[in-house]
């Protein structure tokens, strides 16, 4: 177990090293320097700026400087917002994203599992068809379209919920729904097919035969076993929520890290792009590790030392 963990963390560090290097290279070859704007700076001033930010050093010096700073978790100053460091931006915006993300994950898991179980229990009957129509629509309608429709119907036409910003729980409902819809649909389908498989298995027959109530059979024996594929979907779920937040936060004007990332991309604010990319990657790689560990805890049949990718 410990050896496995160390190995996994080793791979994570290797992946992170690649990500940092690739983003560094990409940002170096990107067209336009950080101070290239419509209003040209006087050459002398630009020279001074470049020297201040260490942009005149040879490229390998800049690279090692950057690596060292990333290790110390310091992403340097933003080029566009004077006086703000990238760390400030991340620290300020991440809480919003975390709240929104957790809300969406909870929503996707609870509703998705519920729909899947109901669909399996009423296989080929009305509830099944309803749940699967919802699932197919959830997969097919892009999140930004859903977000727009939700804004139009609930915030603009019915005026039930706030249209944008992020000040209270009511503000978080629409973005959380829009963000959760696609993963929710995936979870519902996963849960349905694995539940169907479980319901046909021998141990469910045994449970029924020994006279257990319907409730106990379904909850104790059915759902507990059927939920495993959903847990292994947690990794992709985290990714979907993280990347989905780019667009949802932009649409709903939520000052989260997704929107900061999109803004930095349009602003070509290279240090912010690099910092948020590294931050996202760390978040992403470690949440996948945590999901794998949870998986092995939930299902004792799975040993973490097992070779990956054999499926």
């Amino acid at each position: 177990m410990l050896r496995y963990l160390l190995k996994r963390i080793g791979y994570i560090l290797l992946s992170l090293y690649f990500i940092v290097t690739i983003t560094f290279i990409l940002m170096k070859v990107a067209p336009g320097g950080p101070f290239a704007s419509e209003r040209r700076l006087p050459p002398k001033l630009e020279e001074q700026m470049n020297a201040a930010y260490g942009l005149n050093d040879p490229i390998h010096v800049q690279y090692f400087d950057y690596l060292l700073r990333v290790v110390k978790w310091d992403f340097g100053p933003s080029f566009k917002y004077v006086g703000q460091s990238v760390n400030d931006i991340i620290n300020r915006s991440f809480p919003y994203s975390a709240i929104l993300g957790l809300e969406s994950i909870l929503l996707a898991l609870s509703v998705g599992i519920f729909l899947g179980v109901v669909a399996a229990l009423y296989h080929n009957r009305f509830p099944d068809y309803t749940a699967m129509v919802i699932a197919v629509l959830g997969i097919s309608v892009p999140s930004f379209v859903l977000a727009a429709v939700l804004q139009y119907v609930f915030a603009f036409k019915l005026q039930l919920l706030p249209i944008a910003k992020f000040d209270s729980f009511a503000h978080s409902i629409l973005p959380a729904v829009a963000l959760a819809a696609t993963p929710l649909a995936f979870i519902a389908r996963l849960m349905r097919s694995s539940m169907l498989e479980v319901l046909n298995s021998d141990y469910i027959k045994t449970a029924k035969a020994k006279g257990l109530s319907q409730r106990v059979t379904i909850y104790r024996h059915g759902i507990r076993n059927a939920i495993l594929p959903v847990i292994s979907y947690m990794g992709p779920l985290v990714v979907a929520i993280l990347t989905g937040s780019f667009i949802i936060e932009t649409i709903f004007a939520i000052p989260g890290i997704g929107r900061e990332f999109v803004t930095s991309v349009t602003n070509r604010d290279y240090t912010v792009i690099m910092g948020t990319t590294v931050f996202y990657s760390v978040l992403f790689l470690f949440s996948i590790l945590i999901v794998d560990i949870i998986y092995s805890l939930v299902d004792p049949r799975i040993k973490l030392t097992e070779k990956e990718g054999d499926r």
Binding site: S15, V136, V141, S281
Partner: protein
């Protein structure tokens, strides 16, 4: 209960020759025929195929069905609601939405199909080489894939779009740079499953080269899963294009894309909801059609999973 007596005369032998009993009455079905038979029964999937064909035809014919083109501004007639003149209305620059919608369809379908085909080519080669040779090579090739897929897909695509000049091919390149991994993994799994089959051994003992075994014996036998993955790659590529265009990183103006049209439509949602409706509807319809067809193919090729 009365016992009935059975006499020998109650039975008459059926007059069948041995040759007749050996005759196969049912038509023999191949793998493909079998899959097609199952696919045909799936009305939803057939509906999906029809929608895809219609969309493809309209993406080619649509722009010629109206006298307006997708790029010409006409500020006097800006923001017109759908009418006999402009069937889907006009946008904020007075461009005809009908022409733009089908131009967008062309771009979405082109990007979706091209990205899927490139993924297919790289994925099949990478996956089959890795799976067939195995050992060290497999280890290294799969590690490379693992590290690449450790990067969140959309993040990589966005970073690349920042660096490279905007355009259709940049978009496709950015999408395929990590997109092939899924296909490679599926192909590798299939190759590992198939490579110990007897026909591979037979081909090997007849002296067939590795390339020939992969291309002639392995690939045809795993076309089912490949086709399913291919069909399901298309909607995700279409989604990615729309996502990027929505963020302003997609195809440059004046080219129309459903993503940019949705983004423009969102800006004027309050006053001209129809501007959002058309692109949003067609992008959802296209993704729905491809998803339904992909599911149908999966059920058709893998009857074990069929419920």
């Amino acid at each position: 209960m009365s016992q009935q007596t059975i006499k020998e005369s109650d039975f008459t032998p059926i007059q069948y020759t041995e040759a007749e009993t050996e005759k196969i009455v049912g038509e023999s079905t191949s793998y493909w025929k079998d899959a097609w038979r199952r696919f045909k029964k799936n009305k939803l999937a057939i509906g999906g195929v029809i929608i895809i064909i219609l969309l493809a035809v309209m993406s080619l014919a649509g722009p010629y069905m109206t006298e307006y083109n997708y790029y010409e501004n006409d500020l006097i007639n800006a923001n017109q609601s759908p009418s006999a003149e402009h069937w889907f209305g006009t946008d904020n620059l007075g461009r005809d939405m009908f022409a733009r919608t089908w131009e967008g369809a062309k771009i979405s379908l082109f990007i979706g199909l091209t990205a899927a085909i490139i993924d297919l080519i790289i994925g099949v080669i990478w996956g089959s080489v890795s799976g067939y040779i195995g050992g060290r090579v497999d280890e290294i090739m799969m590690r490379i894939a693992d590290i690449l897929s450790a990067l969140p897909y959309l993040l990589v695509v966005i970073l690349l779009m920042v660096v490279m000049p905007q355009g259709l091919w940049t978009l496709i390149l950015a999408m395929t740079i990590t997109g092939w991994i899924n296909m490679a993994r599926i192909v590798r799994g299939e190759v590992m499953r198939l490579k110990n089959e007897e026909y591979v051994l037979a081909a090997k003992s007849l002296g067939a080269s590795t390339t020939r075994i992969i291309a002639r014996h392995l690939v045809p036998n795993m076309l089912g899963p490949i086709l399913v993955t291919l069909t399901l790659t298309v909607p995700s590529a279409i989604f990615t294009e729309a996502f990027l265009s929505f963020l302003g990183l997609g195809v440059p103006a004046p080219l129309a894309s459903w993503g940019t049209m949705t983004s423009d439509g969102l800006a004027s949602l309050r006053y001209y909801p129809y501007q959002l409706f058309f692109p949003a509807f067609f992008i959802s319809l296209t993704m729905l059609a491809f998803n339904v067809v992909g599911d149908g193919l999966r059920d058709a090729f893998d009857p074990k999973d069929k419920r």
